[in-house]
């Protein structure tokens, strides 16, 4: 299916957000996720089903002022 991940369109099969993170080799505890403009808390990624055309943001801690 088509997903827009951090602004880039990709063809990838993933049933849930947790499965997508694993398929794309996102590692570690320090990630924050949103689907279609809504936060998906860490604890809910495994239950969050993805649909064709979903917009997914995967963020991490970075330097800031």
């Amino acid at each position: 299916m088509k997903l827009i991940i951090n602004g880039e369109e990709q063809q990838i099969e993933a049933g849930t957000l947790a499965a997508l993170l694993a398929a794309l080799d996102y590692e570690g505890d320090w990630l924050a996720t949103a689907v279609n403009g809504d936060l998906v808390p860490r604890a809910e990624r495994a239950q969050t089903a993805l649909n064709d055309g979903d917009r997914i943001e995967i963020l991490a801690p970075k330097q800031g002022g």
Binding site: L39, E57, K62, Q63, G65
Partner: protein, 257 residues
């Protein structure tokens, strides 16, 4: 002792983590500054990257409080979502709320700022709003539930210092019991000392330290200036006078002519 949202802090400096020459220099500068609060951001992570995790492990090891920002957000909606993602990631309800209104000056969009502050305060966040020295906006932010206000000194990264001290003096006078932090635009330790002499509770800065030739020494210099300004304010500053007032007593002066 500075108290922000019930947290006591021995340092009156809040320090950013961006633009240092290297992670090691950032870490050493944070230690040298004595700060108890550092600001961080959230940005897109590349697949299989993990660099954000490495950065954050360094910060965690320092044992300081983390204040996530919403830098770069231009709408209330973006800022609210970023704050919620930050709370999930960093496990803190603190957020430095920035909603940028102008590309050149990075001036806050105070209308969207108040809107976002209302939503986040109602959702349990402890909001540190990056704002202007406008008193009406300040009132609205306090009504929204903010327990701290952070007016700018001058545009972010400009190093121009306090371009409108009269407005900052007015803000201090109007809100004697609200923790006020000067955020943005400071370039020199003397700027920080000036803000503290005006009675501000703390300063937040980043580029002035990170962009110095020696960030570690500059972190120490700002810490010293902040302490000096704070002590000076508490000690009671003399008002300027138009004419000279001799400091040495005139009585008892010898007459030689």
């Amino acid at each position: 002792m500075l108290t922000l949202y019930g947290t006591e802090l021995s340092s009156r400096l809040l320090l950013g983590t961006a633009r240092y020459p290297s992670p090691a220099i950032m870490e050493a500068a944070i230690r040298a500054s004595g700060t108890g609060i550092v600001t961080v951001s959230l940005r897109r992570e590349t697949a299989g990257g993990g660099r954000g995790g490495q950065f954050f492990e360094t910060i965690r090891a320092l044992g300081v409080h983390v204040l996530p920002n919403t830098a770069g957000c231009h709408t209330a909606k973006e800022a609210v979502l970023t704050a919620r993602m930050a709370r999930d990631l960093f496990a803190t309800d603190w957020v430095k709320l920035e909603v940028i209104g102008h590309h050149d000056t990075l001036q806050p969009d105070v209308f969207a700022l108040v809107e976002a502050a209302r939503e986040l305060c109602a959702d349990g966040f402890k909001v540190f709003p990056y704002t202007t020295a406008d008193l009406v906006v300040a009132e609205k932010l306090l009504e929204a539930g903010c327990g701290v206000l952070m007016p700018w000194a001058s545009p972010i990264g400009s190093a121009r210092g306090l371009v409108d001290p009269a407005s900052l003096i007015s803000m201090r006078a109007h809100f004697p019991d609200v923790p006020l932090i000067v955020d943005a635009g400071l370039g020199r330790p003397s700027h920080a000392a000036q803000a503290m002499e005006l009675g501000y509770d703390a300063v937040l800065l980043n580029t002035a330290v990170a962009g110095a030739a020696d960030p570690i020494a500059m972190a120490r210099a700002f810490a010293a200036a902040i302490d000096a300004g704070h002590e000076g304010c508490r000690a009671g500053l003399l008002e300027p006078r138009d004419m000279a007032v001799p400091s040495t007593p005139v009585i008892g002066k010898a007459v030689f002519a």
